[in-house]
Amino acid sequence: MNFLLSIDKNKLFIFITCLIVIIIIFFSYNFINNEKSFPILAELPTSKSDIVKPKFSISGQNSEIFITAKNGNFINEEKILLENNVKFKSKEFQLISDNVIFDRKNLIATSKNKSKFSSKNTSIISAGFDITDNGNIINFKGQTVLKIK
């Protein structure tokens, strides 16, 4: 007698139904999990900056000043707002501040935030600064403390 003919049809039906249910549950679970792990487009992490880690330079008469920051946003075609750990570095000095507006056309940098300047044996803390004349003139603004070792 054929083996298949000897199987109880009712039991087979129940078995197949259970198998289908299990498969449906398995795929449904996987689908729900995938839905959760797959981020919605609106929730995707987007950078708020126009420029990430911007770099510029000002060519001075004696040396070049390199400008770096974590973020940069265009205010207009000429001006960029540099944010977070903005550094002006040359052979002679280093100037650190947050939120600096840099005018690419006129090579002018302006900050109204607390600024720390350091050069050989000298440190300056001020309430802001302007860098003009291709880096020749640095105008530390507001209450300022200069320490000379």
Partner: protein, 257 residues
């Protein structure tokens, strides 16, 4: 007991935190109310509004200051203060005030400019409505302008132009040479003498004051006038001579009149 410990600990913490923001030993601290403008190519910087410069050896205050440097900001060669300026250099026994003070650090020269200028060098007090200049290295001094006055060792000198040289003997500044000029008559006061003329010179080698043109020496009730005179500070004696055009004149004041 615990409260005392707490107070001591709090005091220690406060002093420690204050040390963190105050000037360290050997440091020069400059504070301004309206910033600092650095001109890197021209090698100077402008300190703006209510400037205080303090170090171990001196303190300078002024409305505005220009600092010239040689290599970098720390390497100051001279300072030019403008407006309500004062200097107090305890180490050198110098203090003064005026509208402007010019300090040349290399040549150790200080110049105070403006009305009511004052410069004290140990026990010597100098004042003028013009300028007072002292070179600490050379020991030279010069006062120019109206109401110039120098007070030193019982001498009180007034003139439009006073210059001379100090020497330091046992740590004390003493007059070595002196020249005084005033078209409107200079005045020199000693303990018991009053002298006036258009020009006077003093040399500590001779201990003699020489007086030239329109000379007048007043001692007590006696007034002697002529065209040349001298006063010996050691012998406490004096003499007045005339020239070809005038005669020596002696006047005795009558106090009973």
């Amino acid at each position: 007991m615990n409260v005392v410990k707490l107070i001591i600990f709090a005091g220690f913490l406060i002093s420690y935190s204050l040390n963190g923001v105050s000037r360290g030993i050997g440091e020069t601290e400059i504070t301004t109310d309206d910033g600092i403008e650095v001109f890197q190519n021209e090698k100077y910087y402008l300190l703006k509004k209510n400037v205080i410069i303090s170090s171990d050896d001196f303190k300078i205050t002024s409305d505005n200051v220009k600092a010239n440097f040689e290599i970098d900001l720390y390497d100051i060669t001279s300072l030019e203060t403008k407006g309500n300026s004062s200097i107090n250099a305890i180490k050198y026994g110098i203090n003064g005030k005026g509208d402007e003070i010019l300090i040349n650090i290399k040549s150790e020269e200080i110049k105070v400019i403006g009305k009511n200028s004052l410069l004290n060098l140990q026990d010597t007090k100098m004042s003028s409505d013009g300028s007072i200049k002292v070179n600490n290295l050379l020991g030279a001094f010069e006062l120019k302008g109206a109401n110039s006055n120098l007070k030193n060792d019982g001498l009180d000198i007034y003139g439009e132009y006073i210059s001379g040289i100090f020497v330091e003997i046992d740590g004390k500044k003493q007059l070595k040479k002196l020249e005084v000029e005033d078209k409107n008559l200079l005045k020199i006061y000693t303990e018991d003498l009053e002298m006036s003329s258009q020009k006077a010179i003093y040399d500590d080698e001779t201990n003699i004051f020489e007086l030239f043109t329109k000379v007048k020496i007043v001692k007590g009730q006696e007034i002697i006038s002529g065209e040349y005179g001298y006063f010996d500070t050691v012998k406490n004696s004096y003499k007045v001579k005339s020239d070809e055009t005038s005669k020596v004149k002696v006047t005795i004041k009558n106090t009973n009149e």
